[in-house]
């Protein structure tokens, strides 16, 4: 144990003091800041301009109805303008709307001309034919601002619906009541609120991303560090002092701790930005609902186990290969189980008790993601023994991998230069 600690300490200090660690630590949050905050800011700035549009309909009533709905929508958004987000997280666009009842082809021609000359930002062609076909042309130069055009589509549908109901003689308040949206909330027979798959998807996606990134960055670092030891040929000195198992464990712990340190720094530094992004994107409610202290503990447990497990896998690969290029080719294989787990994740969300989900949550290399998803989806209904078994299997695999790659590593030094094939590696493992 003493040796493991000394080796881990060396690995840790050497890496944390290195220039690349410092650069990465500051660069990644800066990049995240750039990716999350900047576009939001830009979108808000771009939306401050007012667009001028014309609604064309044969009868003034229809045109006015559409105009009032667009302006009302705008007012709703305008009231939330002091906060950085609207309800849907989309930028409020200001339209100043004029109505026109001149719906002759010549008028259309004239308006098109105006749009072309940029005197007008767009016009909506709401003739009875188009309304009957449920397909209105919105002639604009900004055909690609799909978010804006989408909102416009919803607003216009709403307006036409209201117009139709009004034509049947309904009061404004009746129409409002009839059109109020309804929310359906799934409830399990035990009375618990079932978690929303969408929320769980976000939580699991976060887990996948964090794990994938740290494994990619630091698992590969473990691989490199072992490769470095092989090429610098120091391990013969090391092996005369420490066992190969101690060396492996020390390396994995040391390099792993570096990864956790960095993730920790990032988590702290980006919490504010992430919080900002969550608020800005209007997902606050979803994220708040997904935050559950027990789940958070499981997140940390499964993240740590997954991280260590994949680090040992990387260590095993590092002890088998002889060059950086070979190591890179193997990276894909290492990531394979994680990718598989992601492919099956929706299946696991919908059927958390299916045999594939149970298998996936027990199989050590997919367990971190799958078991976590199951726990998240079943809200405490996952059998305790399965959680325990899953964790036990992962721990056993970690121990086995350390032992295994310690062996491969030790024999590997006796015959470097040559690329080993599988039977040879099997033989290495058998060598005492």
């Amino acid at each position: 144990m003493h040796n493991i600690f000394i080796i881990a300490k060396r690995e840790y200090l050497e890496r944390v003091r290195s220039r690349s660690f410092v650069i990465m630590t500051f660069f990644i949050p800066a990049l995240m800041l750039g990716v999350t905050v900047l576009p939001t800011m830009l979108m808000q700035r771009g939306s401050n301009e007012t667009k001028h549009m014309v609604v064309v309909a044969v009868d003034r009533e229809t045109a006015e109805m559409i105009r009032s709905r667009i302006e009302q929508k705008q007012d709703q958004q305008g009231s939330a303008d002091n906060q950085p987000s609207s309800k849907r997280g989309l930028p409020p666009t200001h339209f100043s709307v004029d109505v026109s009842t001149n719906a002759a082809p010549a008028d259309r021609e004239a308006l098109t001309q105006k749009v072309n000359q940029k005197q007008l930002d767009g016009f909506l062609w709401a003739t009875p034919d188009a309304i009957a076909a449920r397909k209105l042309d919105f002639v604009t130069n900004d055909t690609s601002s799909f978010i804006e055009n989408g909102i416009l589509g919803q607003t216009v549908s709403d307006a036409l619906r209201r117009h139709a109901l009004k034509a049947k003689g309904l009061q404004e308040s009746d129409i409002d009541a009839a059109l109020r949206p309804v929310e359906v909330e799934p409830v399990s027979p035990k009375g618990k609120n079932a978690p929303d798959p969408q929320k769980m998807f976000i939580a699991t996606l976060a887990m996948v991303m964090v794990m994938y990134m740290t494994v990619l960055l630091y698992g590969i670092n473990v691989m490199r560090s072992i490769l470095e030891e092989k090429t610098s040929r120091i391990m013969e000195v090391m092996l005369s002092i420490a066992t190969s198992k101690e060396m492996m464990a020390g390396k994995i712990l040391g390099v792993g701790a570096v990864g956790l340190t960095q993730v920790g720094i990032w988590a702290a530094a980006s919490a504010a930005f992430a919080g900002y992004a969550v608020v800005a994107s209007g997902m606050l409610k979803q994220v708040k609902a997904a935050m559950n202290p027990m789940l958070l503990i499981y997140f940390v447990v499964f993240f740590l186990l997954g991280y260590v497990l994949y680090s040992t896998l990387c260590a095993a690969v590092g002890s088998m290969v002889n060059s950086e290029q070979e190591a890179q080719q193997m990276q894909f294989l290492v990531m394979m189980p994680m990718i598989l787990a992601v492919i099956f994740i929706t299946n696991i969300f919908t059927h958390p008790n299916s045999s594939i989900a149970v298998f996936g949550s027990l199989f050590p290399f997919t367990a971190p993601l799958v078991m976590f998803s199951r726990i998240a989806m079943q809200a405490g209904d996952t059998p305790g023994w399965q959680i325990g078994l899953s964790i036990a299997l992962m721990l056993a695999t970690i121990y086995g991998m350390v032992w295994l790659c310690g062996r491969i590593y030790r024999v590997g030094i006796l015959m470097y230069g040559k690329k080993p094939n599988l039977p040879e590696i099997m033989k290495w493992i058998k060598y005492a």
């Binding site: 000394i6 060396r10 290195s18 610098s232 000195v237 005369s240 002092i241 066992t243 006796l414 005492a432």
Partner: protein, 300 residues
């Protein structure tokens, strides 16, 4: 007490027999030469002595007890494959290795500075390994093997790549360690360097011991059958001469092994007749010659 004792040790990799039924022992305070051509099994033998590999059969005793890892704290090893962490500061590297050998960090630092001064490399302690020349790295490696004051020191090709000044420096250190009663094992194929240091040797070839014992005894066993001749003039007496068993021409002088039963005086007369003789000395064969001879025979 025997510092190390090998009894009928065998080790093979697949079909390849690296070490075959090897037995030898080194008494405390002894300087031992493990000799042999490249690929003879020297490094394989050493690796078993320090527990990197385990013998297929046979017994290894270290400090009078069957091998156990705990004993390695009293062993210093300079491997043939030199290696240090390239990006690490020298002093930190030495402290790290010292700590692994059970020293405290402070103690390791103190000893490292002492050794560095002695090997005239203390000005480099704050540098990284990659900034050092090969020879300097070698000295650092040397310090790493001796830092924890081991009782048994194993040196695999210790003088390889060193200039004569540094080789002498290291040789003096070794002699000093011998005086302190440390047991030293040299593994090398460079006989000339070892000859001056070793008390006893084991010569191995293809995993087998072909010659072993006390160095003086071995050499005297060959008798004074060699002649060193320095001459000016015609050297054709070396060819097709029934008196000459074999010879090595070193340019400035030749070393001749007399044919069995040949009289050295006869050879002297013959050489004197055709060239000017500056030196004519009867001597024991050099270790190198014994080596070439023995290995040649065992290969035949």
């Amino acid at each position: 007490m025997q510092t190390i004792e090998l009894k009928n040790v065998c080790k093979s990799y697949d079909q390849f027999v690296a070490v075959n039924n090897l037995s030898f022992s080194i008494a405390q305070g002894g300087v031992f030469g493990l000799l042999g051509p490249n690929g003879a099994g020297k490094t394989s033998t050493i690796r078993m002595m320090i527990g990197i590999t385990v013998p297929d059969s046979g017994q290894i005793n270290l400090f009078g007890k069957p091998f156990e890892r705990k004993s390695l704290n009293k062993v210093g090893y300079l491997p043939e494959e030199r290696g240090l962490y390239k990006k690490m500061k020298i002093i930190e590297q030495l402290i790290f290795l010292g700590e692994l050998h059970g020293m405290s960090a402070g103690d390791a630092r103190e000893k490292a500075i002492q050794w560095a001064k002695r090997l005239e490399i203390d000005a480099w302690l704050q540098k990284k390994v990659e900034e050092l020349s090969k020879g300097m790295q070698q000295k650092i490696q040397f310090i790493a093997a001796l830092l924890h004051d081991p009782d048994f020191i194993i040196m695999d090709e210790p003088f390889f790549g060193l200039d004569p000044v540094n080789a002498t420096l290291l040789k003096d250190v070794m002699l000093d360690l011998k005086k302190q009663g440390k047991t030293i094992l040299f593994s090398t194929h460079r006989m000339d360097q070892v000859e001056k240091l070793c008390d006893s040797i084991c010569l191995i070839n293809k995993g087998n011991a072909v010659l072993q014992g006390d160095l003086k005894t071995i050499k005297s066993g060959y008798g004074k059958s060699n002649v060193q001749i320095e001459y000016e003039g015609n050297g054709d007496f070396l060819e097709k001469n029934p008196l000459v068993g074999a010879y090595n021409n070193y340019g400035n002088y030749v070393e001749v092994r007399l044919a069995p039963g040949a009289d050295a005086q006869q050879l002297l007369q013959m050489v004197a007749a055709r060239s000017r003789v500056n030196k004519f000395e009867l001597m024991e064969p050099s270790l190198e010659e014994i080596f070439i001879n023995t290995v040649g025979k065992s290969n035949a």
